[in-house]
């Protein structure tokens, strides 16, 4: 159900672009207004979200420790899984952000009669995740060639390396294939693993189907419908310099691709895709486990009601004296005072 809903949403987007261009001829709208609006939403949304996160303080130091802490010099500690200072935290964060360290730990639990539990090797999610993110990055960088003149050296080099393996069609990009495979894997996985399917929301299918559609239309633009790339580049350069006109004679498929990409950009800050930013602020990962060494201050700390020793002794004085426990105040004539419990 959630899957169908997301699929329909993406198809509706495709149809919108198709009709918008073919029937209504809204070229300027789709090539100028939509990208600007999307980009504005992206920037504003992202800034808003990050500021909202950052505006909440970190009252306690709660890193999840996943390795030996720093103690004696003769005990080998694990700097990356249990950082003791900011430098080591940086190491942990680099491993998390660039290599998905935590996901790499993944295992799969199997239960057999008995009952007997097994934990199996399961790195496919990690592989799929890495593949998706890195191929996306490469594709993104490759697209810079549309927005720059002259095209920077590294973008050219990247494009060259990316098309190094010539499989079938001339110059097919490795990143395109990896991206498509990764998206399909993640989507299929979501659909066929019962628990993952059970937890999936429309917001989990939508970006995957959207990316799939972006991939398909992108590949179509490049290999099959022979979109005039020079025109596209003119448009992109114009957009980047805020001086552009809608190009004629660029295939409709390009407009569909563009609308889907714009949707992804605009949708990003308002969805789970913001995990990309959240990981940097995650308090279980970006703090050193050093709160026994250095004091961490809670900015909203406030005094609380505590039963004091005096109140305690007041209550138990007689029994304490009888048991030979030292007391601060001997019993006054007339027996122990009534225990005064301070109400909050």
């Amino acid at each position: 159900m959630n899957f169908i809903m997301s699929l329909v949403a993406v198809l509706a987007l495709v149809l919108t672009a198709f009709l918008g261009i073919e029937a209504a001829g809204l070229r300027t709208f789709f090539s100028m207004a939509v990208p600007y609006v999307a980009f504005t939403l992206f920037i504003a949304g992202t800034v808003y979200r990050v500021l909202a996160w950052a505006s909440s303080p970190v009252p306690f130091r709660i890193p999840t420790t996943a390795g030996q802490q720093k103690t004696f010099p003769w005990i080998k500690r694990n700097r990356f899984d249990n950082p003791a200072n900011k430098k080591e935290v940086l190491g942990r964060m680099i491993l998390e952000v660039l290599l998905f360290r935590s996901l790499f730990r993944n295992t799969k639990a199997e239960i057999e009669k008995g009952p007997k539990l097994y934990y199996q090797w399961e790195k496919w999610l990690w592989v799929g995740g890495l593949a998706l993110h890195y191929s996306f990055l490469v594709i993104l960088l490759r697209h810079l060639r549309f927005f720059t003149e002259p095209v920077p050296f590294f973008v050219q080099a990247l494009g060259g390396m990316d098309s190094f393996l010539q499989v079938g069609l001339p110059g097919i990009y490795i990143s395109d294939s990896v991206f498509m495979l990764a998206v399909i894997y993640l989507l299929v996985r979501r659909l066929i693993i019962p628990t993952v399917r059970y937890i999936s929301l429309p917001g989990d299918y939508f970006p995957l189907i959207l990316m799939l559609a972006i991939g398909v239309t992108g590949i179509l633009t490049r290999y099959f419908t022979r979109v005039d790339l020079l025109k596209v580049k003119q448009l992109a350069l114009g957009l980047a310099k805020f001086q552009s006109s809608a190009p004629e004679q660029v295939g409709t498929i390009f407009y569909i691709h563009l609308l889907l990409v714009c949707t992804l950009i605009a949708y990003f800050p308002f969805s789970k895709l913001m995990h990309a930013g959240g990981i940097f602020l995650s308090p279980t990962r970006n703090l050193p486990n050093d709160s026994r060494i250095r004091r961490h201050v809670n900015p909203w700390d406030y005094p609380v009601e505590v039963q004091t020793y005096a109140e305690y002794e007041e209550r138990f004085r007689e029994k304490m004296i009888e048991a030979g426990l030292p007391v601060a105040k001997e019993i006054a004539a007339g027996g122990p005072a009534v225990y005064p419990l301070t109400k909050k």
């Binding site: 004696f72 005990i75 969805s271 913001m274 990981i279 709160s291 026994r292």
Partner: protein, 539 residues
């Protein structure tokens, strides 16, 4: 007490319900929930909406403005805890955490997957605090807050032991334990707590410990244990109480004073301190290391924890030494200094025996007893006879809190291997940072919750059974008071031939004391290896 099925009859069913998870109705089946906090305990703990009620009732007697209380409570906490804000926003539902929770593995209930446990709260957050959720409702993953949702929260937030195993595997470090902690805070605003926690909190507030042991009884109990030590070793230990001017204040969970097998661990501490001639004192006022406030709210954690520094200051000690406990050490390591520090009236801890300075406790001024002992052994200060533990084929359970809230792995292993000759690790996916919970943590070690405890403890028990079958392991050691009691019950159920030991009980067994008589029995009064025959002769 709910009827507990035999291990062979405990049904494990992982089929997912037809209905999606957003349907909040919960079946309160006996054995899977804990009794409601009694009015008198809520009152004594200073918690709101004290009344008689039961989760099995249909009317939970919530305050009339309960919705408003929850929404305001959420708003306040979103503003106070970045953790909450981030964790509400960035879960991608990848499912990596799903099969990492012992309660999911043991129950097959999908809402025990950490991701769904969090979604229970997240869906309400989306509906009230995000634009998408307000406009698109369930399409954006939002739900309406109803009484059923509150009941569901109660059921599942008191079915999470705050063990943090899920957070090790989450690519963004989303810590469902943190969400549970905050979820319980919200429930407590409506007077929804369980009695096992509220009762302990109330006791701790008034008598200084969870068990409600009064000062004279506390002293009597420790002295009784001193008698036991004399009977085993011929050495008389001399613990002191509430003594001003001692160098060290020693605080351990009260379970070590009153509940077997924790008491044997306490005997181990007493013997060690005596042998080292430590200038230390107990306190009857700060007689609880554990902190059930942690399972109620951050504020309650702070209130109960405050006694440690307060008493250290009153007695004028130099530093604090803490016993074997799990959640106590998460509180000490991650919260105490922030909540109740700075402890600048204390000194950076220095072992009076070895001269080692504990730089790693430079700010909190509190040292873990296992660190302390590891340092003693490393410096050759203890005379040990590990052969006295030769009847034990040992394995070790890492407590969740010391593992994932501290990273305390090597010291206990070093100590255990110094006092036991036979040691085998459980499989790597079940120890250290990946350790499985005993199933009874975070205040859930009560009788009425027994079925769920045995289910939640299944992955741990399974790993023990694995080493039992493979290496003949018959002993399970741990450094946590709740473990000592909970794992004993768990082993009786799943792996009956395995006995549970605290690490310092093993130290006490192996420790060769000055002037001791020849030992024939261990601290439990059972014959030492090789002494069985002489026992028989006596009979």
């Amino acid at each position: 007490m709910a009827k507990l099925p035999k291990p062979s009859e405990l049904a494990l069913d992982y089929t997912l319900p037809k209905k999606g998870w957003m349907d909040a109705a919960v079946d309160f089946r006996p054995g899977t929930w804990s009794h409601a906090a009694r009015a008198k305990n809520l009152e004594a703990a200073g918690l709101p909406n004290a009344r008689q009620w039961s989760p099995a009732d249909s009317d939970w007697k919530l305050p009339s403005n309960w919705k408003q209380i929850i929404f305001e409570g959420m708003r306040e906490r979103l503003e106070k805890f970045r953790s909450l804000r981030i964790f509400m926003d960035i879960c991608v539902r990848c499912g990596a955490c799903a099969d990492k929770c012992h309660f999911y593995l043991g129950s097959g209930d999908p809402k025990n997957m950490p991701v769904l446990r969090s979604e229970l709260l997240r869906s309400i957050y989306r509906g009230e605090f995000t634009l998408a959720g307000k406009i698109m409702g369930s399409i954006a993953g939002a739900r309406e807050l109803t009484e059923n949702v509150i009941k569901e929260w109660f059921y599942y937030f008191f079915q999470c032991t705050e063990c943090r195993r899920c957070s090790v595997f989450c690519p963004f470090g989303i810590d469902t334990a943190e969400i549970t902690m905050i979820g319980r805070e919200l429930l407590n605003l409506l007077g929804l707590n369980i009695d096992w926690i509220a009762g302990s909190v109330a006791n701790c507030r008034h008598t200084g410990n969870h068990l409600g042991i009064q000062p004279h009884a506390f002293k009597n109990m420790i002295e009784f244990l001193a008698d036991e030590i004399e009977a085993v070793s011929g050495v008389r230990v001399q613990p002191t109480f509430n003594r001003k001017g001692a160098e060290i204040l020693f605080i351990t969970p009260s379970g070590d004073a009153f509940a077997d097998p924790g008491t044997y661990t306490m005997m181990g501490y007493l013997m060690l301190f005596h042998e080292m001639g430590l200038d230390y004192t107990f306190s009857t006022y700060a007689s609880e290391g554990g902190n059930f406030g942690m399972f109620t709210s951050h504020e309650m954690m702070k209130r109960l924890n405050a006694k440690m520094y307060a008493e250290a200051g009153r007695l004028g000690v130099k530093w604090l030494l803490g016993g074997e406990c799990g959640h106590m050490w998460r509180a000490v390591n991650q919260y105490m200094d922030t909540m109740n520090g700075p402890a600048d009236f204390l000194e950076v801890p220095k072992s009076p025996v070895t001269g080692t300075i504990f730089d790693n406790a430079a700010s909190t001024k509190m040292v873990h007893i296992v660190e302390f002992t590891a340092d003693l052994i490393r410096n050759g200060k203890l005379k040990l006879d590990p052969a006295r533990n030769d009847n034990l084929v040992m394995t070790y359970h890492d407590s969740c809190n010391t593992s994932r809230g501290m990273g305390f792995f090597e010291e206990p292993r070093y100590v255990i291997k110094s006092v036991c000759n036979k040691f085998h690790e459980m499989p790597p996916e079940t120890i250290r940072e990946q350790t499985f919970c005993c199933g009874s943590g975070s205040g859930l070690n009560n009788d009425e919750f027994i079925e769920m405890r045995m289910r939640g403890g299944l992955p741990r028990a399974n790993a023990v059974r694995h080493v039992e079958e493979r290496h003949g392991v018959n002993a399970l050691s741990c450094i946590c008071a709740i473990d000592r009691s909970a794992l004993t019950t768990l082993m009786d159920y799943w792996v009956p031939d395995v006995t549970v030991y605290g690490v310092h009980e093993l130290v006490g067994n192996a420790l060769v004391m000055k002037g001791e008589s020849e030992r024939t029995s261990d601290l439990r009064g059972d014959p030492l290896p090789g002494m069985e025959a002489s026992e028989d002769e006596n009979i």
